[in-house]
């Protein structure tokens, strides 16, 4: 295993500690619940936004905590849903008078932990709503058969509700916005290599030297099919061919286009894919209004990429354009 790691059991807490040490003024780390939260949360003039999932998808979600995005993220261990108690205690710590919005990528484990936590939090008198993200068009049923999976498109939901909550929107309003963004967001990914969880120490699946997994999940779940590795051009055609007709996105639409790296693919290749996708969309009459190229939702060290489209309207565009300050940053 080629990783920077001490005892694999401490992989997640040691990473979280690093995030906290790198952002001492803006973030707080609560080790008991794997919680990274805004230092100034909860603020009672805004709804608190919380996301959790397994770890291994960084920068999602622990590195998108900050002004304009999440108020807190409480991940589980690598590829494991957070224990219900983490979610419950996070909701309590971030309880705001305006409420708490729980964002959940649609997997059975996450769904059950968050729903149970929400039930308990409500029983304790908290105002809580839960919103599921399920943008992956690859397979109808996720690993745990609860419908489509939530993948890189979650960035857009987090960004939109984060911006709106910063502007003072109510919990109901945030649910409306989040559901709307989710409903116009579609993603599909391709893996060139498997990923290696630190505790396992070996690749999660096998992929021959000349193979790719089309429609792969961010936990290495099988996708639509395994195929011979083809050119970047053909790959973009395949991704667009799955994503565009699904909503569908049509001529005249303005979209956000994201090329998301799955962890092991360099940004040079992501920009190459971006350029191809941008031009192929233009040829279909679809205009890219906002572009996102880089790592947003990864699968550890997996080489691969996903393509996400979001149908833009003025409301969504304004929310995506609003400023944000998160741990994942260049400067």
């Amino acid at each position: 295993m080629k990783k920077f790691v001490n005892d694999p059991k401490n992989f997640v807490p040691e990473m979280l500690k690093g995030i906290a040490l790198a952002n001492p003024d803006t973030l707080r780390y609560v080790p008991e619940y794997n919680l990274i939260m805004r230092a100034d949360a909860p603020r009672h003039d805004k709804v608190s936004i919380v996301q959790g999932s397994g770890s291994g998808h960084e920068p999602a979600h622990v590195m998108v905590v900050g002004k304009g995005m999440l108020d807190g993220a409480c991940p589980g261990d690598v590829f494991a849903a957070p224990p219900m108690e983490y979610v419950l205690e996070t909701a309590k710590l971030l309880a705001s008078d305006k409420g708490v919005l729980l964002l959940v990528n649609n997997y059975t484990g996450d769904k059950m932990a968050f729903e149970m936590a929400a039930e308990l939090a409500e029983a304790e008198g908290l105002l809580v709503r839960t919103l599921f993200i399920n943008d992956d068009v690859a397979v109808k049923d996720s690993t745990w058969t609860v419908g489509r999976r939530g993948v890189a498109g979650n960035f857009f939901v987090m960004k939109a509700v984060g911006a709106a909550s910063e502007a003072g929107a109510s919990l109901d309003e945030l649910v409306r916005i989040g559901e709307k963004v989710n409903s116009v967001t579609r993603t599909m990914g391709i893996a060139l290599t498997p990923c290696t969880p630190p505790a396992k120490g070996s690749p999660l699946f096998e992929l021959a030297d000349d193979e790719m997994e089309v429609g792969v999940g961010i936990h290495g779940e099988p996708g639509r099919r395994r195929a011979k590795l083809v050119s970047a051009d053909e790959i973009v055609d395949e991704l667009l061919g799955a994503v565009v007709p699904d909503l569908p996105y049509s001529s005249g639409d303005e979209v956000a286009l994201m090329i998301n790296g799955l962890g092991g693919t360099p940004i040079s290749e992501l920009y190459l894919l971006y350029g191809l996708a941008h031009e192929k969309l233009a040829a279909q009459g679809i205009t890219v209004g906002r572009s996102y190229v880089g790592e947003y939702c990864t699968s550890l060290d997996m080489a691969g990429a996903s393509l996400t489209l979001v149908q833009l309207d003025d409301e969504i565009k304004d929310l995506l354009l609003a400023p944000a300050e998160i741990a994942n940053r260049v400067f």
């Binding site: 849903a81 932990a113 149970m116 690993t143 058969t145």
Partner: protein
């Protein structure tokens, strides 16, 4: 005060799940991912560790604390499934000190509905529901027939065991075992077996 018999049954479930870690894990290794024994054992170890600290002002409160502690720290399916079962059972006896036979049936029905709601499963999908539901039917029937509590426990255990055996020809539609598709036919469902084992221990220690 919480009901002493309920406490005793919970205690039996707790120790039995801890003792059967390996057995339950092995059952889940046949067509699942082998973590069932581990999950239950860790969850109930936490219950055991905090046993003396639970709020016992009434039975509902006691069961709610058990639910949160049991399911709070474990991942996967069993934490939320079992936690929800305890939670919904608790809601039936909120404020109740002494639990009667009809309460038990209401608690089990609520637990079953909770599990269905949480995990989306229905009867016949090779889950613990396939043992829990027939067992509850038996208890209700025997209660109506005026059978003694100890004998009801025995009848419940027998039904649960038969029902667990009856999961063998079913195909798993939920949880990790469902990935194996038709290969899941021919083996017992670990969750249903666990219900049988627990019911037997409860009857034995009545």
């Amino acid at each position: 005060m919480s009901d002493a018999r309920v406490e005793s049954v919970v205690r039996t479930i707790t120790t039995t799940c801890i003792e059967n870690e390996t057995y339950f894990g092995d059952l889940d290794s046949v067509v699942g991912d082998g973590d069932f024994g581990f999950s239950l054992a860790r969850g109930f170890e936490n219950v055991l560790a905090q046993w003396d600290t639970f709020d016992r002002s009434d039975t509902g409160t006691f069961l709610q604390k058990v639910a949160v502690v049991m399911s709070g720290r474990i991942g996967g399916t069993s934490g939320p499934i079992w936690g929800t079962a305890f939670l919904r059972a608790a809601s039936q006896v909120k404020g109740t000190q002494e639990v009667r036979g009809t309460d038990v049936v209401a608690m089990l029905r609520a637990a079953i509905e909770g599990i269905k709601a949480r995990g989306g499963a229905d009867l016949g999908e090779k889950t613990l529901l396939d043992a829990l539901a027939p067992m509850t039917d038996t208890i209700e029937r025997e209660l109506a027939a005026g059978t003694s509590p100890a004998d009801i426990a025995k009848a419940a255990a027998a039904t649960a065991r038969d029902a667990a055996e009856a999961t063998r020809p079913m195909q798993a539609r939920r949880g990790r075992a469902s990935y194996t598709g038709e290969r899941s036919i021919g083996s017992l469902d670990p969750g249903a077996v666990a219900v049988a084992v627990l019911a037997e221990r409860v009857a034995d220690t009545w």
